[in-house]
Each structure stands twice: as C-alpha cells, then as structure tokens.
C-alpha cells in the first residue's frame, strides 16, 4: 500500500475535526464571543499583551509547540505496527490535543491571560498549584535527560551533523545582537545562517575529516578508555557533559541573545523539514513495508503503553503552557482561539504523521522492519535513527542525495532538541526558584544555584540508566516517563477546563472524557511498569531508578485523580469565577 494513503487519511480526519468538531466545541461548549475584550486589548502594554493577527499567532503557536518530541514518540510507537500509532495520533489530535490546546487558550483568555499554574491556584487551590509545579518539575527533568540523550545519540550516529549544529550557536548570537542593536529584520540574516549551516552539512557529509566522530577518536566502539569505559560510553559521557555545560550558559543568558534567534532559524528548519518530507512522499510514493499490527511485538503490550509513548503529536501538557503563557496574551479576538489553539495542535499532528510515515516506509520489507524493531528497548533506542534514515529516504524523492538529506534531517532534529533542552533547563531553574520561595529556601532562588541544581540533576539522571552500550547510553529508557508526566500535565489542564465549564453550568464531557482516558492510561501504564517491570516482581530485574521515578509519578497521578474526583463531584456554588464569563 502506498504511504500517501496514510497522509491522505490523516489529512481528511484533521480537516473534518477542525471543520466540524472544533466548530461544535467553539460554539456549544466554549461559546466564543467575538465581542469579548481579550487581555491583549484590555492590558495592551506593547510587550506581553499585544493583539496579533490570527495567522501570525497560529504560526508562532505552532512553531513553539512543534519540536523533537512529536517525532521521537511516533518513531518508537510504530513498534506495535503503524495502525495503533496512526489512529492515536489522528484521533488524539482531533479529540484530545485540539480540545486541550484550544481550551487552555480560552480559559486563560477568560481569566486575564493568566497561566495554567495560576489558574490551578485560583480554581482549585494552593495544593493544585503545588501539584502542578511538581509535575512540571518532573516533566522538565525528564525532558532534560531524554533530550540530552537524544542529541548525544544523534551526534554519535550522525557525526556529520556536529559542525553544522555548533555553527548555529555563533550565528544565532550574531543575529541576536544585529537585530537588537540595529532593529532590523531577522529574515535575511537567518536565511544566510541557514545556507551556511546546510552548506557546511554538504561538506561534512562528503568529507569524513569534518565529521566529529568521538567514538573513532576514542579508538572505536570496543576500545577501553579512561575509567574502563568503552569508546561509545566515553563518547556519550563527553557529549552529555558538553551539552550540560552549554545548557548552563545558554539558559542563563537573556533569551534574545541565543534562544530566540535560534528559535527563528529552527522555524525555517521546521518548514523546510516538513516541506522536504511531504513533497518527497508525494514524488517518491513509497510503499508501507511495516505491518499494520506487529505480531512479534509481544514483550510489551500496546495497551496502555502506546498512549504514553506518543505524548506530543497526540496530546501534550506542554502545549497548555504555551497556550496560557504567551498565546492567550496576544489573541486579538476570542473567536481566533479556535484557529490558533485547535489548528496549532493539528499542525503538530502533521509532524507526528510524517514521523510515522518515515519510519514505516524505510525498510525494504516487513522482515527488515521487525529486525530493526525487534523489542521495545530496540524501538526506544533506534526509533529516532530510523526516522532520520526514513526522512532522508523520502527526501531522495525530490533529488536530495540520501547522505546529505540524513545529515540535514539530523541537524533539524538536534536543533529542535537543543532548543527544547535550553528552554527546559531555563524553566526548571524558574520552578526550582519558585519552589524555593514557596518552601522558604532563599538559596534556591538564586539564578546560578537554581541552574546548577537543574543541570547537575539532569546530567545525573541521563547518566544513571544502564544502556546496551554501557554508561551514558541508556537515557532512552526515560522516554515513557517523559510521556507520562506530559500526559499528566495535560490531564491537570483538562481538569481545570472541566471544573471551569462545570461551574459555568456547561457540558464538560468534551474535556472530561479525554481527561479520564489519559488518567486511566497513565495510571494503568505506571502501575504495570512500576510493579511488574521495575520492582522486580515476577522474576524481572529490579530497576531502582525507574522504580523510584515511576512511583513518584504514580503518586502524582493518583493525587490528580483524587483532586479531579473531589472537584468534579463538588456541588457547591463557585466563587472564584470571572463575572464576565
């Protein structure tokens, strides 16, 4: 079967979802009012609160939420076959992510542009806010660890991508300064930067001497290096240390100096990456060689694990932070929320969709697919590499040589992951400082101490899990925990929207059902993994690190269930609702 059919199916469902379901939600549930004075107008300060055209805001929202995560999750989840992954991405986007992103945007707009964390405090109480902070803390910790592993892994697998990725840093700083001092447009300098990066990618793909291959520098994969570490282990260790040192500096710099200009370049990369792969798909017209359901995927059941393996791309709590943190302050008209929030989620759905397509068309036949996805652990560690090779194969459809395309797609994924890592370490620093203020620990409120705590704990977490290549190579095992904490964050946001709708006397099933679904799946998956996989029950090996982290997340999940049950069964009249609602 041609893979184009997968894209056609996804596109049709996305269009129907946007055209009909989001319209129903907008008119009957959230009841958007074109005359409502949005915070962008009410508090217009020219900085945070600025009315912005809906297409511009959608583009900004989409580029903020789309990153490496919607690529990695589906690339792993195709282990169970393309059927479950495709259905979850498509239906999750339509019925869960769209409603969630749209809902958090509307909820925030109706509450003076406040963020989900503040609204948790306002709608439920201080305990909910603390729970929210702890869940984000766990989430960003997982993001830091997993993405540090992702980047290190890609640098080792695709050494040609190292120089172009590092070239992006001085280029971004140059753009940041040029625009800040001269107030010019970023378009031209960022395109020049991109040309330099991709030009260097062509050179590094063709000239092996320009490939920074640490494994070969250390004498090969099997060589013994310092502390008895193998060549691969040492390479992982060195890359992780370099990344963490980079994160320390990057996350303490003002955002306009490095993060923002790099984000700008990455937005070009997102458009280019999606363009290359979808066009390549049309011209190459590859067959889907992977099975719809993988009969050999027996070591882990897709139910419930797939629903936490694919978080971003089906539903992600992180989107709620973007919706309520920045987009809600820039919404021109309340009715624009449907396009910005819901269609923003659809945009990410398209990214997840092409990730599935790239992985299921890569292999010559089902046998090769099953060999590459021989176990869930193999899918976790190799999924992203398969996506890059699959994406490169699609790119050959528009005439780009496979080796150069692989380097460019690796650069795109690493750039996304690096920006996520930088933002996430920065966010972790803020949360540590906020928790320091909450629990009266002034030392934690100092920027450099909070950053040090963030960087050291993240580095420790990524180095601790055991991997097939030894020390430092096992960070991928944290992926399900990342998915779980992201889903729990989404569940909290959906709970807040449900509470808000309930208090307004509206039908809240559209948010309650995805919330219950997420909570059931995450609690089920965590109970299964914590008790049967990580605690050592039933003869499996005990994994203390995952057991502890999984138990903490499980406790948070149960805590959310209890709060949700209490709040949604409460019949008291609310008093903390905006009168304008």
């Amino acid at each position: 079967m041609s893979a184009i059919w997968l894209a056609v199916f996804g596109t049709i469902v996305f269009i129907l979802g946007y055209r009909y379901y989001s319209k129903f939600v907008a008119e009957k549930i959230y009841r958007l009012d074109p005359n409502f004075v949005t915070p962008a107008h009410e508090f217009n300060d020219g900085v945070d609160f600025v009315p912005t055209k809906k297409h511009v805001l959608w583009g900004h929202h989409f580029t903020s939420v789309a990153g490496a995560a919607p690529i990695v999750g589906p690339a792993i989840a195709v282990y169970w076959g393309w059927g479950p992954a495709l259905l979850w991405v498509v239906l999750g986007t339509v019925f869960a992510a769209g409603v969630h992103d749209f809902g958090t945007l509307v909820l925030s707009v109706r509450n003076k542009g406040q963020s989900v964390g503040t609204l948790a405090d306002k709608l439920i109480g201080k305990k909910a806010k603390l729970l929210f902070l702890f869940i984000i803390l766990i989430l960003v910790l997982m993001v830091n660890a997993v993405f540090a592993w992702v980047i290190s892994n890609l640098f080792i697998k695709f050494p040609a991508s190292v120089i172009p990725v590092f070239i992006e840093i001085p280029l971004a700083i140059w753009i940041g300064y040029a625009v800040y001092r001269k107030k010019g447009s970023m378009l031209l300098p960022s395109i020049v930067s991109l040309i330099i990066m991709y030009g260097s990618a062509v050179l590094t793909s063709k000239i092996p001497a320009l490939q920074i291959d640490l494994v070969s520098y250390f004498g090969g994969a099997e060589a013994t290096t310092l502390f008895g570490l193998s060549g691969v282990s040492m390479a992982f260790f060195v890359w992780i240390v370099i990344l963490m040192v980079y994160c320390y500096f990057a996350s303490t710099l003002p955002v306009w100096k490095l993060l923002q200009p790099r984000d700008y370049i990455n937005s070009h990369q997102l458009v280019i990456g999606l363009g290359i792969m979808y066009l390549g798909l049309v011209f190459l017209n590859p067959d889907v060689t992977a099975p719809m359901m993988n009969p050999d995927a027996t070591d882990k059941s897709w139910l419930p694990l797939m629903f936490i393996t694919i978080a971003c791309g089906a539903i992600s709590g992180f989107h709620g932070l973007v919706s309520s943190g920045t987009s809600s302050k820039q919404l021109d008209k309340e009715t624009d929320a449907r396009f910005v929030g819901y269609f923003g989620a659809v945009g990410e759905g398209f990214l997840a969709l092409i990730s599935i397509i790239a992985c299921v068309t890569l292999f010559a036949n089902a046998g090769d697919f099953k060999a590459a996805y021989s176990s869930f652990a193999a899918a976790n560690s190799g999924g992203l590499g398969n996506f890059i090779s699959g994406g490169a194969q699609l790119a050959t459809g528009i005439g780009i040589p496979a080796d150069i395309a692989a380097t460019i797609i690796a650069i795109i994924v690493v750039s996304f992951a690096a920006t996520t890592l930088d933002s996430s370490v920065r966010l972790m620093r803020y949360i540590i400082a906020e928790l320091g203020a909450e629990y009266k620990l002034p030392t934690l409120q100092k920027a450099h101490i909070a950053t040090t705590v963030a960087v050291v704990t993240s580095a420790a977490l990524v180095l601790l899990p055991k991997g097939p290549n030894g020390f430092g190579s096992g960070g991928y095992v944290l992926w399900p925990l990342f998915g779980t904490s992201n889903q729990l964050l989404a569940a909290i946001s959906l709970m807040l929207i449900s509470v808000w709708l309930k208090r307004l006397g509206r039908n809240y099933l559209v948010t309650l059902i995805p919330m219950l679904f997420l909570l059931v799946m995450t609690v089920w998956a965590m109970v299964q993994q914590v008790i049967f996989d990580w605690a050592g029950v039933g003869g499996t090996d005990t994994n203390l690190l995952l057991f502890i982290l999984g138990s903490i997340i499980l406790i948070f999940a149960v805590w959310i269930v209890l709060i949700a049950f209490k709040e949604l069964s409460n019949k008291d009249t609310p008093h903390n609702i905006d009168s304008k609602m």
Binding site: W58, G59, H60, V179, M186, Q330
Partner: protein
C-alpha cells in the same frame, strides 16, 4: 506583477510569524532598561542621593505617565510614593 505582490505578502506574513516572539523579548529587554532608568530618576524621591536630580526633575512629566505601570511591574499594587498619587 500580481505574483510578485503575492510572494511579497507571503514573505511578510512569514517574517511576521517568526518575529512575534523575538519582538516581545526585545521589547521586554528595552522595558527592563527603561525600568532601571526610571528607578535611577526616582532615586532622590526614594531616599538615594542623586547628583543629577536637577536634570532628572525635568523628566517628571514623562515619568508620571509611566509611573503607575512601573510600580505595578515592580510588584507594588499601590503607589509607594506619597508625592505621586496615581492610584
């Protein structure tokens, strides 16, 4: 010609989309600098000796306009100065 116009409009929209975030951050950075400058201008009123007081006094009409938003941003719900009763 129509095609070129359409291309120009598309590029403009694209640039606008990507610049939204950056514009916010640059505006925030500039506002932070302004906030610090306002604090320096108000230093005499706040009890800190200011050798340039005579000159900064001339800026008071402009500062008054910005004062209310400034003290809100600094985390003070009401005006901290008895001399300036903005709220």
């Amino acid at each position: 010609m129509k095609g070129i116009e359409a291309l120009k409009r598309m590029l403009q929209l694209y640039d606008e989309i990507l610049s939204v975030n950056h514009r916010t951050e640059i505006a925030r950075e500039l506002r932070n600098e302004d906030d610090l400058f306002l604090l320096l201008c108000l230093s005499e009123t706040l009890g800190l000796p200011n050798p340039a007081f005579y000159y900064t006094l001339e800026l008071y009409p402009y500062m008054l306009e910005k004062f209310h938003d400034w003290h809100l941003r600094m985390g003070m719900e009401k005006s901290p100065l008895t001399g300036i009763r903005c709220c």
